[in-house]
């Protein structure tokens, strides 16, 4: 990754080249989007089918920038103490007891005690605070659609100001704002106020040629023929009206599985044996198994 003297932030093309060297193949739109996110200091909102490389993009970006990747996985009911910061209560209690023990008979000055309790050393940085405090960092807020709307509202300050306010300490502001990547699988509509602060990138499944390239870059040494066959078969599967059409991640899994069972090309037997790597529903597998011949012929 460091064999490239060009600054990845110089132009979209330079960034695409840098991403390519990490094994992530970016098209024009993706390169422009990430370039603008860096230049304009705006979060990148990635939406698309599962398995189109949203999370992998954040990982590749961190690698390109030599930055730390900090990941926040969203879930139902996530709140500030899980995303932002929390106080280390056991240690605070110990500290309080220690103060009492050393104070002897004299009474404690409440204000001074409180000030010493809410000291940054008792602060547990959760992903967002950590990202603000870590100089070059990429903050991945994964699957924001799983969090609730209160949490979205709470992200607004962080995303625009690159700062959070901790009542007992004050404002913590990032010296170098982290590059923020938000992902969503569209299980729920994310509020427009949040989207407006971001660059909006819709990710589709890659075209055939790009998917073959992705296979080559992720699985070096994969036979040309196998890569082309797998990519072609996955493409056919995506058009086969399945409950869960395979994403790029499944394509890679499938090719890897085929290599592991020692298949040099894709035929009915090897496909049937490894179908579990690409199809995740019994109904889908049953249907496809019956039509494997015609699928592989296409």
């Amino acid at each position: 990754m460091t064999d490239r003297p060009a600054d990845p932030a110089a132009s979209p093309a330079a960034l695409a080249a840098a991403l390519r060297s990490t094994g992530y193949l970016a098209d024009d739109g993706l390169a422009t989007a990430t370039f603008l996110a860096m230049r304009m200091n705006r979060p990148l909102f990635c939406e698309g089918e599962p398995g189109t490389g949203k999370t992998a993009l954040a990982q590749a970006l961190a690698q390109v920038l030599g930055a730390k990747l900090i990941r926040l996985q969203c879930h139902d009911g996530i709140d500030a103490s899980q995303a932002l910061y929390d106080w280390d209560f056991p240690r605070q209690l110990l500290h309080l007891r220690a103060l009492e023990a050393t104070a002897g008979s004299g009474t404690l000055d409440t204000d001074a005690v409180e000030a010493s309790l809410y000291d940054p050393r008792f602060l547990l940085a959760r992903p967002i605070l950590e990202a603000l405090q870590t100089a070059p960092s990429v903050l991945l807020i994964d699957e924001i659609d799983r969090a609730d709307d209160e949490f979205e509202a709470f992200l607004l300050e962080v995303l625009t100001e690159h700062a959070v306010t901790i009542p007992e300490i004050g404002e913590v502001r990032a010296t170098t704002p982290p590059l923020v990547v938000l992902t969503s699988n569209r299980t729920r509509e994310v509020h427009d106020a949040l989207k407006r602060r971001c660059l909006y990138l819709w990710l589709d499944h890659p075209d055939l040629q790009r998917e073959i390239e992705i296979l080559h870059s992720r699985l070096p040494g994969i036979p040309e023929r196998l890569a082309a066959q797998v990519a072609g078969a996955v493409r056919a599967l995506r058009q086969a009206d399945l409950l869960k059409p395979p994403g790029v991640a499944e394509t890679i899994d499938w090719a890897r599985a085929l290599q592991l069972v020692g298949a040099s090309h894709l035929d009915v037997d090897s496909a049937a044996a490894t179908l579990g790597a690409v199809l995740k529903y019994r109904e889908d597998a049953d249907r496809v198994r019956k039509q494997l011949d015609s699928l592989l012929a296409s």
């Binding site: 979209p12 024009d28 739109g29 422009t32 989007a33 370039f35 603008l36 230049r39 304009m40 705006r42 939406e47 879930h75 139902d76 009911g77 996530i78 709140d79 106080w87 209560f89 056991p90 605070q92 209690l93 309080l96 007891r97 103060l99 009492e100 009474t107 404690l108 409440t110 005690v113 409180e114 309790l117 659609d145 609730d148 709307d149 699988n185 569209r186 299980t187 729920r188 427009d192 989207k195 407006r196 660059l199 909006y200 990138l201 819709w202 409950l243 869960k244």
Partner: protein, 385 residues
């Protein structure tokens, strides 16, 4: 090209200042239905400032990344971009035709005009008088399909008065409570007030949040007499809890109308929903449409652990096994699956229509929905789900 792009535009030479053309483009996008706000326009211009304005690809992406916010926006954006930037480069001077047709007033056909007062009483009996005589109690039990225009108007007002309670579920979020695990933060703060003496443990527990409700309203021909009332009912429910209720119509295709129904005013919301529904009073392929719902929305999250209510008479013209399979999927995703059939409230009703028979094994409840009283009953079932 990267000189100061932001600022008042001078109307001088034709291609010296691209701002006018770019802003013109955003105006076209707005009229094509994209939510282009001023801050988005500013973002678009500053994106171009970082890129090469003379590059078509980069201009395209600068706009797409800053002005779109939904996959549905993308085809509209592509079309507008093509129109605006293709003929002579530079844009701005090109002719732009607003291709959108005025929306057909489809809803009007369904709802006989009943603007306050009168005008179209049918029949010989003055309906106004009859409506007054019938009173709320009688009207509550009348079949929605057999109402006179005046009664329909009365019913609308009654519908608007409904205050549905939403079902709830346990949230992962914690809040102060008398029971549950200890809350270290509040306990510590309380101790601090007592000079570090911990007199009592403060506790917290999971809060409750509204459970998601999904309404699927069949608007095919056979449901026509009920569609208006049912959509009004859906409006009331969506308005009550806009964040957690989703509404769709089923016909020859699936249409999401949640966004339209969130409007405060019932008539405007219904008119907007009417514009969004392309297949009023058409046929049904219930199985296919249900599959579209489960594929596109249900499995992704809208139906997961939610209360799903299907309003349909179950007339299925396609093969019923498709519907059966989809209902079984939906049953596995949803918390409760309720079917509301307006005919179920009539004497001699038996669930024999193909669609109902296929769906029946997967339903938690089969209700009638032909009158206001039965809709109120439905709300109780939903609340207790």
């Amino acid at each position: 090209m990267t000189n100061s792009l932001i600022g008042p535009s001078g109307p001088d030479p034709a291609d010296a200042d691209p701002i006018e053309g770019l802003v013109g483009f955003t105006v076209v996008l707005r009229s094509a239905g994209l939510a282009v706000t001023t801050d988005r326009v500013v973002a678009f211009l500053s994106a171009l400032d970082a890129l090469d304005v003379t590059s078509r690809t980069q201009t395209y992406w600068a706009g797409r990344l800053t002005l779109c916010s939904d996959p549905d926006d993308l085809p509209r954006y592509d079309r507008a971009f093509e129109d605006w930037f293709t003929p002579p480069r530079g844009g701005g001077r090109t002719r732009i035709v607003d291709e959108r047709q005025p929306p057909p007033p489809k809803l009007a056909a369904l709802t006989p005009s009943t603007q306050e007062g009168d005008g179209d009483e049918e029949g010989d009996q003055p309906t106004q008088v009859f409506a007054r005589a019938s009173g709320n109690e009688v009207l509550r039990n009348r079949d929605l399909a057999e109402l006179t225009p005046a009664e329909r108007e009365h019913l609308r007002r009654l519908l608007a008065l409904l205050r549905p309670d939403m079902p709830t579920r346990r949230s992962r979020r914690m809040r102060p409570s008398r029971h549950g695990p200890t809350d270290p933060g509040r306990t510590l703060r309380a101790a601090l007030r007592d000079q570090g003496e911990m007199r009592e443990l403060r506790r917290r527990d999971h809060s409750r949040r509204p459970r998601r409700v999904v309404l699927l309203v069949d608007v095919s021909g056979s449901m026509e007499p009920y569609a208006d009332a049912l959509l009004r009912f859906a409006h009331v429910v969506v308005r009550r809890s806009p964040g957690t209720v989703e509404a769709f119509t089923l016909g020859t295709r699936l249409t999401r109308i949640t966004r339209e129904l969130r409007m405060r005013d019932a008539d405007r919301a219904l008119a907007a929903a009417g514009r969004a529904i392309p297949d009023w009073s058409g046929g049904t392929r219930l199985g296919e449409v249900m599959r579209a719902f489960v594929d596109r929305w249900g499995q992704r999250g809208a139906a997961r652990r939610s209360v799903v209510v299907v309003f349909s008479d179950g007339w299925e013209r396609g093969e019923t096994d498709v519907l059966g399979v989809q209902m079984s999927r939906l049953h596995r995703l949803a918390h409760k699956l309720v079917w509301v059939n307006p005919h179920a409230g009539k004497d001699g009703y038996a669930p024999v229509q193909g669609g109902i028979v296929a769906a029946l094994p997967y339903l938690d409840d089969l209700l009638a929905g032909h009158s206001l009283a039965t809709l109120e009953e439905l709300l109780e079932v939903v609340r207790d789900a």
